[in-house]
C-alpha cells in the first residue's frame, strides 16, 4: 500500500499544445499552486482554458514545456485519474477492469479476483461484477471507474470533469459516493470542472483559471464544514456567497454580464500558494 496522502506542488508550469511548434501559443502558462495532503482543490474556468491539459501534465500524461510538478511521495506516488468518459475497457467485465488496476498496483493475479469483487461490493455493484461495461448504465460505469481508481490505491485523485456526463440524479448519487470514499481514506483531490456549484460543493479551495493561455487568476477558500453532501451542501449557509465569489472571479458581477474589469479573468495573475 502506498502512502494514503501526498501533497502536490505545481511551480511555474507551462504546457504547449501537442504538435504546435512555436506558432500556436501555450495552452497553460506559468501556473503555480499547491495542494496540501488530504486537501480537496477544484479548478474552474471556461472551456478551453487548459484545465484538462494542466491536469494531464500533473499526471505526467503530457510533457511540461516549463516548470515543475512535485508530488510529496516522490516519483513513485500513485495518482488515480478519473476521466469525463468512464474509460473502461469495453471487452473486459467490471471485475476484469478492476483487476487490470490491481495488477498494475502490484497485486498477484490470484488475489486480484477476490479484491476486485470486494471493491465492486464496496461501490454497490457486487451483482454486476461479471457484466461488460456495455451492459451497465452510465452511473454504474462511473462507479466501476471510481472503483478502478481506488483499486490502484492512489495518494492523489486527479478528476477531469468526472461527473459532468451523468444526469442530475445519478450525479448526486455518484458524487456522494465519492465523498464517502474520501471521508474513509482521505486522499488528496484535484478536481477540474466547469460547474461552479459542483466546485463549491466539493472543494476546500477553488482555483479560478482564465482562458488562453490558462492561468490561475483567483483562489477562493470555501471553508464549509465537512462532511459535505453533494446535494444538501448547496443549501448550507454561506454557499451562495462562495459561489458568487467564484462568479466574480470569472468576471461576472451582480445583475450584469462580464465585467472584464480588474479582478476578472483578464485581471491580475494571482498565485494560489496555500
Amino acid at each position: 500500500m502506498s502512502a494514503r496522502r501526498a501533497s502536490v506542488s505545481v511551480r511555474e508550469v507551462s504546457v504547449r499544445y501537442p504538435g504546435a511548434a512555436g506558432e500556436a501559443g501555450p495552452a497553460v502558462e506559468g501556473v503555480s499552486f499547491a495542494v496540501e495532503a488530504g486537501e480537496f482543490v477544484a479548478i474552474v474556468g471556461p472551456s478551453g482554458c487548459g484545465k484538462s491539459t494542466l491536469l494531464k501534465a500533473i499526471a505526467g500524461l503530457v510533457p511540461l514545456a516549463a516548470g515543475e510538478v512535485t508530488l510529496s511521495g516522490g516519483a513513485e506516488t500513485r495518482v488515480g485519474f478519473v476521466f469525463q468518459s468512464d474509460a473502461l475497457l469495453p471487452w473486459r467485465t467490471a471485475s476484469g477492469n478492476i483487476e487490470v488496476a490491481l495488477r498494475l498496483s502490484g497485486e498477484r493475479a490470484t488475489a486480484a479476483k477476490g479484491r476486485a469483487r470486494a471493491l465492486l461490493e464496496r461501490v454497490g455493484l457486487g451483482e454486476a461484477s461479471e457484466k461488460f461495461p456495455g451492459q451497465l448504465s452510465g452511473g454504474m460505469r462511473k462507479r466501476v471507474a471510481l472503483a478502478r481508481a481506488l483499486a490502484y490505491d492512489p495518494a492523489v485523485f486527479l478528476m477531469d470533469e468526472s461527473f459532468t456526463a451523468l444526469d442530475a440524479q445519478t450525479r448526486i448519487q455518484v458524487g456522494n459516493f465519492f465523498l464517502e470514499i474520501l471521508a474513509q481514506s482521505g486522499q488528496t483531490v484535484l478536481f477540474v470542472t466547469h460547474d461552479i456549484e459542483e466546485a463549491v460543493t466539493l472543494a476546500d479551495r477553488v482555483l479560478v483559471m482564465s482562458r488562453g493561455p490558462g492561468r490561475i487568476v483567483r483562489t477562493i477558500e470555501v471553508g464549509l464544514a465537512r462532511p459535505r453532501d453533494y446535494y444538501a451542501s448547496r443549501f448550507a449557509s454561506g454557499f451562495k456567497e462562495r459561489q458568487q465569489a467564484v462568479w466574480d472571479a470569472l468576471g461576472y458581477s451582480h445583475g450584469g454580464g462580464a465585467a472584464g474589469g480588474s479582478g476578472g479573468v483578464r485581471g491580475c495573475v494571482m498565485r494560489g500558494w496555500a
Binding site: L61, P90, L158
Partner: protein
Amino acid sequence: MRGAVPRAASWGLAALLVAGWQAAGSAVPGARALVSTPVLVARRIVEIAGNGVLWHNLVPTLEETVGGLALGLVVGVAGGVLMARSRFAATVLDPYVVGINGLPRVALGPFFVVWFGIGILSKVMLAVSIVFVVVLFNTREGIASIDADLVDVLRSMRASRWQMLRTVVLPSLVPWLLASIKIGIGLALTGAVVGELVGASAGLGWYITNSLNIIDMTGAVTALLVMGVLAMAMYYAVLIVERRLLAWRGEPGAGH
C-alpha cells in the same frame, strides 16, 4: 431461432439455382459441354472423393490459402503497427505500400513461379502479396481509432509498453483483424489459385487447367464449386471465432 425464414429462403434460392442449372445443362443443346450439370458434378465429387484425387488437389490449395493468409496477417500487422507508431517509417514506406496496393498482384504470378518454383511457396507468396496490404491498412486504421482515454488511464497507472500492448492495443485491434481475415480469405484464395493456374503440379487451380486441357468441363466446374465451398467454410469458421471474441459487444445473432 432467429431468422429461420430468411435462412430457408437462402436454401430455397440455392435449390432453384441448381434446378435451373440442371434444366439448362440437359435441355439446351450444347450447354452441357459449356456448364456441365449438377448431377454430373455431384457424381464427380463422389468419384474423386473416393479415389483421393479431391484431397490430393484440395489440400495444397487449402495450405496455400491458410499459409498466405497467416503470413499476410503477420506482415500486415507488423507493418501497420510500425507505420502507425513511427512517423519516419510511415513517410518512408507510404509510397511503396500505395504502389503495391495499386499493382495488379496477379501479374506477379508468373514472376513468383519463376522465383519460388512451382511448389507451394510461390502460391503462398502471391497470396501474401495480396493479403498483407489490406491487413496493413486495417491495422493502421485500428491503431488510429484506439480510444485515447483508455491509453491515458493505463499510462496514469504506469503500465509498461508490453502491458499497454496486451491490455489496450491488441484487444482494440481484434475487430479490425477479424474484418481483415474475413476479406483476406477470398484474397488469399485468389492468390493461391492464380499461382496454380500459372504453374503447379497439384491444387484446385491446376485441376481446372488440367480439366479444360482435356475438355472435361465437369471436372473444371467441380473444382470451381469446391473452391466456393472452401471459401464459405473458412468464412463461417471465422464467424464462430468472432462471436466468441466479440461477445462483449452483445451483438445480435450471438444466441442461436
